[in-house]
Every structure is written in C-alpha cells, then in structure tokens.
C-alpha cells in the first residue's frame, strides 16, 4: 500500500485544522492537511458569528468575500417577549462582530494554510491509526483508493466527532448532556426590528440552549437554536419548526438551507496531548460553553498547536511531555475562562421562563456602559439573588 511520510498530519480542515496547518508550516514543519469533504467549509454547521476583536488578535484581515454583515448591537428576548437592546452607539460592545459566509471563510483559511506550505488533500477520510515507534500510521481513503500516511505528530482537528483523539487514547467522547444539538435554517424574508443586531431568545423555546437570529444582510438571516437532547423529548428539528412559526420576525420567512450539527459545550477536554498526538478545536472542547461559539477559539488554539508542533519537530521530540506546552497554553488562554461560563450555563438551564422574564425586566431598567459576555453575567448576578448565590464568587 502507498505510504506517504510527513512531519505533521492534521485531520480535519475546519478553522482549527487549517490554523494548525498554517502555523506549523509557517514555522518550518512538513504538513499535510486532509478533510473528507469534497468542498472545504460545506455544508456549514454554524450560525457564523465571530467577534472582530478575535479576528484582529489573530491577524486575520476581514475580506468582503467572507464577511456578510457587520453588526452593531444585540437584542436579548425573554420568553414573554420582553427584550433588552444593546447598541454600539450607546454602549461599548467589545465582542461585537461579523456574520461570516463560512463556506467561503473555511476555504480561505485552508488556502492560507496552503500558501504557508501545507499540502491539502480533500475528499480524503482518515479511518483509523496505529502506533509505529515514534510516529503514527494513519489509514486513509480517497476516491476509492486506500493508502497510509506516516506522521511524527497527528493533530485531531476532526470537530465534534472527535474520534482521532480517541484513536490516540485521549478521552474526547462527549457526554450527551454536554452536546448541544444545533439546527438552523438560512432564511429569506426575515423581518427584524433592526437587521444590524443579532438576536437571542431564551427559555423553553430551546431547552438547554437558546435560539438565535443572525442577520446576513438584506432580508437574509441564520435562524436556529441549540438544545440538549437530555432536556427535551422533542427533536431539535421540531423545536426549530415551532420557533420559526411563532417568532414574529420569521412568520413570513422561507428557508433556503437547513444546517445541523453538534456543538460540544462541556468545557475544554482535560488532556489535549499524548505521545505523537494533539487535539484542537471542537475535538478538544474549545467552545465557549455559554455561547457555543468556537470559531475564534478553534483558530486561536490552532495557532498554539501549530507553533508547538513545529518546535517539537525541530527538536526531534514528539513526546506527550514536549507537546504538553500546547495544553498548558490552551488551559491558560482558553480553558480556565470556560470554567465559569460552564457554571453560568448550568445556572441558566435551571431557570424557568418566569425567572427569565423577571431578569429581562430588571435588565431593561438598567443602563449599560460596556457589554460583553462576562459583563452580562455580572449584571445577572446583580439583579438575581439566586445567581449571586451560584455565581457571585466567579465573576
């Protein structure tokens, strides 16, 4: 059987894998980046919201080819329709962002990896792997051909499936209570009060998660929700149909696309490396447990993973001990902050629709100056004695 050798093999060309491949290649490693998809980025499994700050920090310049909408505010809606508006002209929104076209964005990130020197293989599925002294041999299949890739370091960037890590002995299986079942229509004919603002809907519309409307320009928007299957008897799809039928903004809207996917919201996986293997992105739990956002953290973690992998290749040391540098950086930069968002999410899930309505009412009467996810939780603690008890020490 054909055997290809490389320093670093990245499995999965989502934001995490492409970023890992790019930074490993930039730092001198031989890199292969493979994905089973025939088109990188498609189908999308995402609501496509990112923060401008996040992209800027990573040095990724926004392009009109993949930014569909620049946002200027947020609208939070409680079960009885009480809404809280936060707009940039009045309050500071450090996490304000863009809505992307991820089918294009993901492809652009892979192109960046290729320009940095990585070899890309599309329509190529990784099927399993075995240890071979100080490397892994990964079984692959592409367009009917079986072959193998021998890599000193394998990077599992395979998204919510997170199987590569398990092949390498890491504990990446996601518990059902920690997996957000996401579902979404991209719709036209969406009538939003302000199409420059993203909207979040809380309560029993989406048990264990929330519903969203993310505008993509004109009358187009991603309309979706995430639920936790252990908290409802209905499927995510049934919840979505009900939401779309009842929400005033989507009464006259029609779907042009259906997207589904899992979003691991249980926090960062404890062990991200072992000898000759690293995991990154959704596969490593690099998703904010409260918001479900994982694009920026996938790109960020990919940068750290790529840099550490390339350094390890240069030193000829691919041991778990050497690669642990990556895990330590991730813990400090990403994982630690997730702990408190995880607790907030658990607390939010415990609230009834009536609780949420009264919190929304209190929020409505508050003047905001600076709004970010953590500022919002701080405010929540101020208005809700129950939240103070559960979260007071964390924020």
């Amino acid at each position: 059987m054909k055997l290809i050798e490389t320093d670093v093999l990245v499995i999965g060309a989502g934001p995490a894998g492409s970023s890992t491949a790019k930074h490993a290649a930039l730092n001198g490693a031989n890199v292969i980046l493979l994905d089973k998809k025939s088109e990188i980025g498609a189908p999308k499994r995402c609501a496509e919201g990112v923060s401008k700050e996040g992209l800027k920090k990573l040095g990724i310049k926004p392009s009109c080819r993949w930014v569909t909408k620049e946002l200027s505010g947020v609208r939070l809606v409680s079960p009885n329709g009480t809404d809280v508006w936060m707009k940039e002209d009045i309050v500071k929104l450090p996490e304000a962002g863009y809505i992307l076209e991820r089918k294009v964005f993901d492809k652009f990130m892979a192109m960046d990896a290729a320009r940095a020197g990585a070899t890309i293989m599309i329509k190529t599925l990784a099927r399993g792997m075995r240890k071979d002294f100080d490397s892994y041999i990964v079984s692959c299949e592409s367009m009917g051909e079986d072959f193998e890739i021998k890599a000193r370091i394998v990077v599992g960037a395979d998204g919510p499936e997170s199987r590569v890590g398990r092949w390498g002995g890491l504990k990446t299986a996601v518990k059902p209570k920690d997996m957000e079942s996401g579902i979404q229509f991209e719709m036209i004919g969406v009538e939003m009060d302000d199409p420059d603002c993203i909207e979040f809907y809380f309560g029993s519309v989406a048990p264990g998660g929330y519903a969203w409307i993310f505008p993509k320009g004109d009358d187009i928007a991603n309309v979706g929700l995430g639920i936790v299957s252990t908290q409802t008897d209905k499927s995510a799809y049934e919840h979505l149909l009900k939401f779309v039928a009842n929400c005033p903004a989507t009464k006259n809207a029609q779907p042009v696309e259906l997207n589904i996917g899992g979003d691991p919201v249980g926090g960062m996986v404890k062990t991200l490396v072992s000898d000759n293997i690293m995991i990154v992105g959704d596969a490593a739990g690099h998703v904010n447990p409260l918001t479900g956002g994982g694009i920026i953290t996938a790109l960020e973690a990919g940068k750290y993973a790529g840099e550490v992998a390339a350094a390890a290749i240069k030193e000829g040391d691919y041991s778990g001990e050497r690669l642990k540098e990556y895990q330590d950086i991730c813990k400090e930069e990403i994982g630690d902050s997730f702990e408190k968002y995880l607790k907030t999410k658990d607390y939010m899930s415990s609230l009834t629709d009536a609780d949420l309505d009264s919190i929304a009412k209190a929020f409505k009467d508050t003047e905001f100056e600076n709004v970010s996810t953590s500022e919002l939780v701080k405010l929540l603690i101020k208005v809700s004695p129950k939240a103070l008890l559960k979260l007071g020490k964390l924020f």
């Binding site: 025939s38 499994r45 079942s181």
Partner: protein
C-alpha cells in the same frame, strides 16, 4: 442501525457514541454493530431523528 434517508451526516452521533463506533463519511454512516451495546445515545441525540434501531 437503520439510517434514514434524511440523515445529513453532521456527525453528532459519532461524537456522543461512548464506544467510538460510528464512522461518518461524507454521505454515509458506517456503524460497527459488533461493538454496540444498544445504549441508544446516538438515536436520542440526532437533531433530525434519522436513526432507529433495527427490530
């Protein structure tokens, strides 16, 4: 396992399968039925109810 025609291969089932038995290909799913202990987690987690157990 019976995979209904409306499966979209999103891979959520593979992520929650505690035994790592589900291979998600671009347009098919392969179950390693031998290792399956019938826990039913994949069935209940599917966002579009596309999985049912064989009777």
């Amino acid at each position: 396992m019976i995979v209904k025609e409306w499966c979209m291969y999103c891979g959520e089932c593979a992520g929650v399968c505690p035994r790592c038995l589900i291979e998600v290909r671009e347009i098919s799913l392969i179950f390693n039925e031998e290792g399956c202990k019938d826990c039913g987690i994949c069935v209940s987690s599917c966002p579009v109810n596309a999985l049912t157990k064989e009777e």
